[in-house]
């Protein structure tokens, strides 16, 4: 019954994909019947509307996107100068920045969250700062980061750091603070030291919540890196999209959008997999 359900869901998904691609293909097909009325407008000229490479709307047809994607993916790591690198290299830059910023954030947020979670005093003392800093758009930090760090690459990593830190901090503190009293009593009646209690009782008990925070963080980090790279430029998938927009190469833009989705999915799935190892049924 379950495999039957999976099978039916897969079929339905494929049907949706085919319909979507079909509508897209039809909508972007050249309008053979309608004759051009006079000169193309200024906007159409800017958008490449007058040129022969485009379809009626300027949006590339799915077939164009796929043939472009095939070309890019068959040679993803070529490097022909600052403005012409393979999609693999651009994605690698973005992933590197996200992972580095995320790792630095985890290094600070998880121990700090642990301490905050264990101490009601620190919890209350830190709370106003966390509540005010958390809703700040990470990109708002960018000018300050550029001024202080004076390095665009490091500034992008800092922005990732600052946006990843809050979900991990808040979730770790919450997970640690809500460890069941029964389990803490078990640690007490077994005379465990504070350190042993932290590692053998509180950490495993809070691990699923901490991992959830990490999963939220990496999702946000991947959202933010595209915008950050559009600002700082140079390398990365965000810069790639902006560069291809300036080249009016919408097939590349659409291809990059799809790749961002796929990598984001893989980052999330890998942390979801990690969550399985620490999850426990209660």
């Amino acid at each position: 019954m379950l495999s039957n359900l999976n099978l039916r869901a897969t079929v339905l998904s494929l049907v949706m994909l085919v319909v979507f691609l079909g509508v897209w293909q039809l909508a972007t097909a050249p309008e053979v019947l309608a004759p051009q009325q006079g000169e193309p407008s200024e906007y159409e000229q800017l958008m490449g509307g007058g040129s022969d490479r485009s379809s009626s709307s300027g949006i590339p047809a799915p077939t164009q996107v796929f043939s472009h994607a095939f070309g890019e993916l068959s040679n993803p790591f070529y490097d022909a100068g600052p403005n012409d690198k393979g999609i693999g290299i651009q994605l690698a830059y973005s992933i590197y920045r996200v992972l580095l910023g995320f790792a630095l954030a985890a290094l600070i947020a998880i121990p700090l969250g642990f301490v905050i979670g264990m101490s009601p005093l620190l919890n209350k003392a830190f709370d106003p700062y966390i509540q005010i800093l958390k809703p700040i758009s990470p990109l708002a930090w960018m000018p300050l980061a550029l001024f202080v760090i004076r390095d665009s690459n490091m500034s992008a990593i800092f922005v990732i750091f600052i946006c990843s830190i809050w979900p991990m901090l808040v979730n770790t503190a919450y997970g640690v603070a809500s460890v069941r009293n029964d389990w803490l009593n078990v640690a007490k009646t077994h005379q465990l030291s504070n350190l042993r209690t932290a590692f053998t009782v509180i950490l495993p008990a809070a691990a699923p919540t901490i991992l959830t925070g990490m999963r939220i963080s990496i999702g946000i980090a991947w959202l933010v890196i595209v915008a950050a790279e559009m600002l700082v430029g140079g390398t990365g998938i965000g810069y790639y999209i902006w560069n291809e927009w300036n080249n009016l190469d919408l097939a590349s833009v659409i291809f990059a959008i799809i790749m961002i989705g796929i990598i984001g999915f893989l980052l999330d799935a890998s942390l979801a997999q990690a969550t399985k190892f620490v999850r426990y049924a209660d």
Partner: protein
């Protein structure tokens, strides 16, 4: 009175009340002596402070007054000398049954090798009949099996005093009966000193050497210490055929239905007069009423 293994001396617990500056006295003046190897049950209505007494013995709660001395040392905090079995098993859900017991064994004997810890843990899991379920996590065990793991964990650290807070309260009657007999078996092999809270009169008669009866709160007291004069080994199936069974059972039920309330009223009146509440429980043997002392002077005192 000679010094026993466990001396509870003039124990009182008072809590601040939300809408009054007066303290609310849960129980007071509790004086109880427990001998080594004794199995003692404590029965009383909800809210009389049974669990607080147990938590004080476990070192998890601090009494307002009085102290507890075990083996000539005052109990000031939780330790491995007091094993605790809580009502809600409190196993660590991310560890298998074996690892839960090994966790406790490691805390008790940190320098043991892993093989030795494992062997020790498995011996106690075997005693509670869980040979086939050692690798399962608590969520994969039935309620009765979880409580068995809790019992194995508590016995495995060989504490000086074993504390149980309604350990079978959440179990169905059939499972409860089976585990009670297992508990009796382990206890007869190890002769732990046990202090157990229960609501179940039959459970107390089956297990205990002595049953302590508590009056209702506030100002609750341990009023009686009822000797369970039934020879061991006891079996659930034949327990009610013992001559002593019905006198004891009637006495306990009568206390819970009538006595607890009446004595509670007297205790509250005495507290209002400002009498010293400290007193030892009256020792009663319902099976041999001729040996029972007259009720203490405090209980019959004219008002």
């Amino acid at each position: 009175m000679s010094k026993g293994f466990l001396e509870i001396e003039n124990l009182s617990q008072r809590f601040p009340q939300p809408d009054s500056s007066d303290l609310m006295t849960v129980f007071e003046g509790v004086d109880v002596t427990i001998n080594k190897g004794e199995f003692v049950c404590l029965i009383g209505h909800s809210g009389c402070g049974k669990s607080t007494i147990l938590n004080v013995l476990a070192g998890l709660a601090t009494p307002t007054d009085g102290n507890v001395i075990m083996d000539n040392k005052e109990i000031t905090g939780p330790s491995l000398d007091q094993g605790v079995i809580f009502q809600n098993h409190s196993l660590l859900p991310w560890l298998s049954a074996r690892d839960n017991v090994m966790f406790a064994v490691r805390a008790r004997w940190p320098d043991w090798s892993k093989a030795k810890r494992r062997e020790h843990a498995e011996r106690y899991l075997h005693m509670v009949g869980l040979d086939h379920a050692m690798d399962r996590k608590p969520a994969q065990l039935s309620g009765g099996m979880r409580q068995r793991v809790g019992i194995a964990r508590a016995f495995a650290i060989e504490p000086k005093l074993l504390l149980m807070d309604e350990p079978f309260g959440a179990l169905d009657a059939l499972t409860r009966g089976v585990i009670q007999e297992e508990l009796l078996k382990i206890w007869s092999e190890t002769h732990q000193t046990v202090f157990m809270i229960t609501h179940d009169v039959d459970e107390a008669i089956l297990l205990a050497d002595r049953v302590l009866l508590m009056t209702n709160g506030p100002h609750a007291q341990v009023a009686e210490s009822v000797t369970i004069d039934i020879p061991r080994p006891r079996e659930r199936a034949s327990l009610h055929q013992q001559d002593a069974y019905y006198p004891i059972r009637n006495h306990l039920v009568d206390f819970l239905v009538n006595g607890a309330k009446e004595m509670s009223a007297k205790a509250q009146a005495a507290a209002a007069r400002g009498d010293n509440p400290r007193h030892s429980p009256r020792i009663v043997n319902p099976a041999r009423p001729e040996t029972n002392p007259e009720p203490g002077p405090r209980m019959v005192r004219a008002v």
